[in-house]
């Protein structure tokens, strides 16, 4: 029997790394790891390890297309993602340039944070984010979002809320319509690399949303607003809602962890 999630999960209800469907991997993070930058963070989600540093808001580079008229109304967010050659299972030697995967992550991060941050406070400036992936074991985009959020908080860049990312998948190919009476597929939270390679998954990024109207009066917990959603694999549309719900729940858990990290490091600073 091949050892993969889609065959072992229905039998054991445990994933390859021993987690249940709704369990996150161990999430550890630190902020202010790099004193030379305005803000920095180190984040490990299981075996995915990311270093992130933020420079700015600083003056945009001269002669740069983004530093010109585009930045006159607010800061421009620049994201640079570098996946280390030793990050994956097979050691790759790259010719310096960025590959398709890292440039996609960079584009997504840039779009997410450009609209998320209060950039209007810093006209004519650039916020540059550098993400280094030291070890890649799935949920790269989600881990990068969380690392960037921490580094931006450390840099003191105003934002309406923490932007937290998480992945969610299905424990099978999920290519046929869902049968509500015989639900043999479970949603999975926080996928690792072997799971990502065989299963359909999506990455969701949420921020705190503002309670509206009636809800604004009660002091209950704030609910989440999806501000980023990315899906590269194919899945039947009947499963998307389940995956999204699980992903949003994961984001909520991650947000609590990140808040703890921020509070912990603010007190010890």
């Amino acid at each position: 029997m091949p050892l993969d999630t889609s065959t072992t999960y229905p039998l054991t209800k445990l994933r390859l790394d021993g987690r249940r469907w709704n369990e996150l991997r161990l999430l550890q993070a630190q902020i202010s790891t790099n004193p030379a930058s305005s803000g920095s963070s180190f984040l490990a989600m299981g075996n995915t390890t990311i270093l992130c540093s933020v420079h700015g808001p600083a003056e945009g580079r001269r002669g740069d297309a983004t530093g010109g008229a585009a930045g006159s109304s607010g800061a421009v967010v620049e994201v640079d993602v570098n996946v280390a050659g030793f990050a994956g299972v097979d050691r790759k030697r790259r010719a310096g340039g960025s590959d398709k995967q890292s440039s996609r992550i960079a584009t997504t991060l840039r779009a997410a944070f450009q609209s998320h941050l209060h950039t209007y406070l810093y006209p004519h400036s650039t916020i540059s984010i550098h993400v280094s992936v030291l070890s890649a074991d799935g949920s790269l985009l989600a881990a990068a979002i969380n690392a960037c959020t921490l580094a931006l908080v450390d840099a003191g860049i105003p934002m309406p809320g923490l932007l937290c990312g998480c992945t969610a998948g299905m424990s099978g190919s999920a290519s046929t319509p869902r049968d509500p009476r015989n639900d043999e597929l479970d949603p999975l939270l926080d996928l690792s690399l072997p799971e990502e390679q065989e299963l359909p998954f999506l990455t969701v990024g949420t921020t705190t949303s503002v309670p509206v109207g009636e809800n604004a009066m009660d002091d209950g917990e704030e609910d989440m607003k999806v501000s980023m959603l990315n899906m590269d694999s194919k899945v039947h549309c009947t499963y998307v809602e389940t995956m999204l719900a699980v992903g949003i729940d994961g984001c909520k858990q991650i947000r609590e962890i990140l808040e703890g990290v921020i509070k912990g490091s603010s007190q010890s600073r």
Partner: protein, 257 residues
């Protein structure tokens, strides 16, 4: 609604309704609530007794009060409570990210002197232009925390370029150097590379430079080294003297306080 404020705010945390607070630095207003937008201690600035103004909520970046090393004690008054005791301890300076704006007073280092203009890089933006007249730069707070280190790292050609390139660049044009005899200004007799200049921003300029002016008595060179490399002290509005050799050099000197 419970109105106890958290000691430490996290971005996105609700601090209170706009009905009872107004939003200060580090916060934003959404759906008639004040939310934190940066992480840090929450500070309540109570309204002047008698005035109609609301207490201002702000979130600071600094955790320690500079100098004392003590943790800034966050104020946790409830919305309806009377303002804190009048004999408040000297207010610690709080840190915010500051960008130069028109009329803000800045300290800048001269990086290049040309016939018609001097290029400087802005090191420190002094917060609160109204109160900066008598302020000593080491007490001002901006996000460039270690001001002493920035100012003293003056004549180091190696890391000079790298650290100064990252800062905001500004120009002092020949006609903005002083208010009188503008046409007789010779830039070489006003500034030298490496001088620390106090100036005010007159324009945000184009995409590459701010514009500064030193055309006021209290603006101009505040720190300079002579050709021998010694610190100089001001002797008149256009002359500074080397404390070791006694040699005089020409500068547009800021009035010492």
């Amino acid at each position: 609604m419970a109105s106890t404020l958290p000691a430490l705010a996290i971005p996105g945390q609700r601090l209170g309704p706009v009905a009872s607070y107004s939003a200060g630095p580090g916060t934003h207003v959404q759906q008639s609530n004040v939310y934190a937008s940066i992480a840090g201690p929450v500070v309540v600035d109570p309204a002047q007794p008698g005035s109609k103004a609301k207490a201002t909520l702000s979130v600071s970046r600094s955790i320690r009060a500079p100098g004392t090393g003590n943790v800034v004690k966050p104020v946790t008054t409830s919305a309806g409570a009377k303002p804190a005791a009048t004999s408040a301890p000297p207010k610690p300076k709080l840190k915010y990210n500051t960008l130069p704006t028109v009329d803000s007073v800045v300290l800048a280092r001269v990086t290049r002197v040309q016939k018609r203009q001097a290029t400087v890089s802005i090191l420190v933006v002094l917060d609160d232009p109204a109160s900066t007249q008598g302020v000593n730069p080491s007490q001002t707070a901006s996000d460039n925390d270690n001001i002493e280190a920035i100012l003293s790292s003056a004549a180091n050609p190696e890391n000079h370029s790298s650290s100064d390139e990252l800062r905001f660049q500004a120009l002092i044009r020949k006609e903005d150097v002083r208010a009188v005899e503008k046409d007789r200004v010779v830039m070489d007799e006003m500034f030298r590379v490496g001088d620390i200049v106090r100036g005010t921003v007159i324009s945000l300029g184009d995409q590459s430079f701010y514009y500064l002016t030193t055309a006021r008595n209290d603006l101009g060179v505040v720190m300079a080294r002579s050709e021998a490399g010694n610190m100089m002290f001001p002797v008149s509005w256009k002359e500074m003297r080397d404390s070791a050799t006694g040699q005089a050099e020409l500068r547009k000197v800021a009035r010492p306080f």
